[in-house]
């Protein structure tokens, strides 16, 4: 990945996923929730705070050898709702995934209430209803507490 004549040059990947238009600064968090760390065996390209006509600044991630599943795209919809996800096969875009915040989300976001049963060792997973998408507000199915967009990052 390099910059030439003010244009960002990123090598194409043969198979994998390109996540574009990520809100600036969120790329590392995305890699984290996708479980991509130093031990990931294939090429990962990451660009942070590059200029964008649409968003002024954006992050971009290219991950070789990985196609996102539904659960992973659901996670992305909360962290980077503006992002576009392209599944690449043979250097071409095989599928364009439009992120959509679901009505309900389980086992990914943690409740901010330390006394919520979902933060204990009970045999359950965290569970939230999305009661508003704009602004984003989640309601814990267990303790009823709300999580607003501005606090969401603390829960991943």
């Amino acid at each position: 990945m390099s910059e030439k004549n003010n244009k960002l040059i990123v090598t194409k990947i043969k198979e994998g996923t390109v996540i574009d238009r990520i809100p600036p600064g969120k790329a590392l968090k995305i890699l984290e929730v996708l479980g991509i760390d130093a031990n990931y065996p294939y090429t990962v390209a990451l660009a942070m705070r590059v200029s964008s006509e649409v968003m002024s600044l954006k992050d971009v991630v290219k991950i070789k050898g990985k196609a996102l599943n539904q659960s992973e795209t659901q996670k992305l919809s909360f962290i980077a709702p503006t992002a576009t996800v392209n599944i690449i096969e043979n250097y071409n875009v095989k599928e364009k995934i439009h992120l959509k915040i679901p009505e309900h989300v389980e086992d990914f976001i943690s409740c901010l209430n330390p006394n919520c049963i979902s933060n204990t060792h009970e045999p359950i997973v965290s569970s939230f209803d999305v009661i508003s998408k704009e602004p984003l507000i989640l309601r814990c199915v267990y303790c009823d507490r709300l999580i607003e967009q501005k606090y969401l990052d603390r829960t991943f």
């Binding site: 006394n115 049963i117 204990t120 309601r139 814990c140 199915v141 009823d144």
Partner: protein, 305 residues
């Protein structure tokens, strides 16, 4: 329609409230008729947090119905100290009793009960979330006094942020028509956002005040709650706020003749002892009503007529 377990008054209808009140009233009038109704039945009282009234009134209720009780009064004397989950405790109690009351500081155990309980589980207070049976006895007391809850003007004062009786009381009042709700608290102890949102969803409107004197002359019911030391993450916040909302006789000198003062108890210093002597005080009768209401609730849940 009665929910399988009772952890939120939002899950019960106004009709169910009335069924409980009718039965509680009948029990209060003639308790001897009900003295053997629960022969052979066991109530488990699982109190992971301290309690005086809730536990004792549930136990009194079951004993007065001819049933028996078992349980513990502190997490320290249960296997919770060994790290046992609530789910496992519930699965065990399923085989030890016919109905159970559980009090816990952990919030959301209603969903655990729904998943793992095969006997009825009733909340005896769940963290700061709800205290549904307290609301039942609160409204029973109000109905006894005024015959009708519709159209009353109710003031709710004190710790609206941490008090678990408050959400249950407000959700219950929201089921009645034209009840005017007035919330009186310092801004730091206002209702949590999730509660205001629930009230909004129930089309329940309310007014807010910082001083009881602004509204006391209009009220039919003044419901006072304790500023709860144990719920404050920072003890200095408690020290700053305690005692600000203390009712003295002078504060209610303009109150209506028939205005009643309720309190879920225990009180610390939010109601002056001088108030006890006034015609307005009803908090001890309210606590007594807890026995009749809980007897009615046990009978309903055990499907005993």
């Amino acid at each position: 329609m009665i929910p399988q377990h009772l952890f939120s008054v939002r899950k019960i209808s106004r009709d169910f409230f009335q069924e409980i009140f009718t039965l509680a009233s009948s029990i209060e009038e003639n308790p001897i008729v009900y003295a053997d109704k629960c022969n052979g039945k066991l109530l488990a009282t699982l109190f992971f947090e301290p309690s005086t009234r809730t536990r004792l009134s549930f136990e009194s209720a079951m004993l007065r119905l001819g049933g028996k009780i078992l349980g513990f009064t502190s997490a320290k004397t249960s296997s919770a100290v060994k790290g046992e989950s609530i789910a496992d405790t519930i699965r065990m109690i399923n085989h030890y009793a016919h109905i159970a009351v559980i009090r816990h500081y952990i919030e959301g155990i209603g969903q655990i009960a729904e998943k793992f309980a095969t006997i009825p589980f009733v909340s005896g207070g769940t963290g700061t979330q709800e205290h549904p049976t307290q609301a039942l006895l609160d409204l029973y007391t109000i109905q006894k006094e005024f015959k009708n809850i519709d159209g009353l003007k109710v003031g709710v004062m004190g710790d609206l942020l941490y008090g678990r009786t408050i959400p249950s009381l407000l959700f219950s009042l929201a089921k009645y028509n034209n009840v005017e709700i007035n919330l009186i608290s310092p801004p730091a102890l206002n209702l949590r956002k999730n509660i205001t949102l629930r009230l909004q969803e129930m089309n329940c409107e309310y007014s807010t005040f910082e001083n009881i004197r602004e509204i006391v002359d209009e009220l039919d019911v003044l419901y006072v709650t304790r500023i709860q030391k144990e719920r404050f993450p920072d003890p200095t916040d408690y020290e700053r706020l305690k005692g600000i909302y203390q009712i003295k006789p002078d504060d209610i000198k303009n109150a209506k003749e028939n205005m009643i003062i309720l309190h879920p108890l225990p009180r610390v210093d939010e109601i002056d002892y001088e108030i006890d002597k006034l015609k307005h005080s009803r908090y001890f009768e309210q606590a007594q009503n807890g026995v009749w209401v809980r007897m009615a609730l046990i009978l309903k849940y055990l499907e005993i007529g």
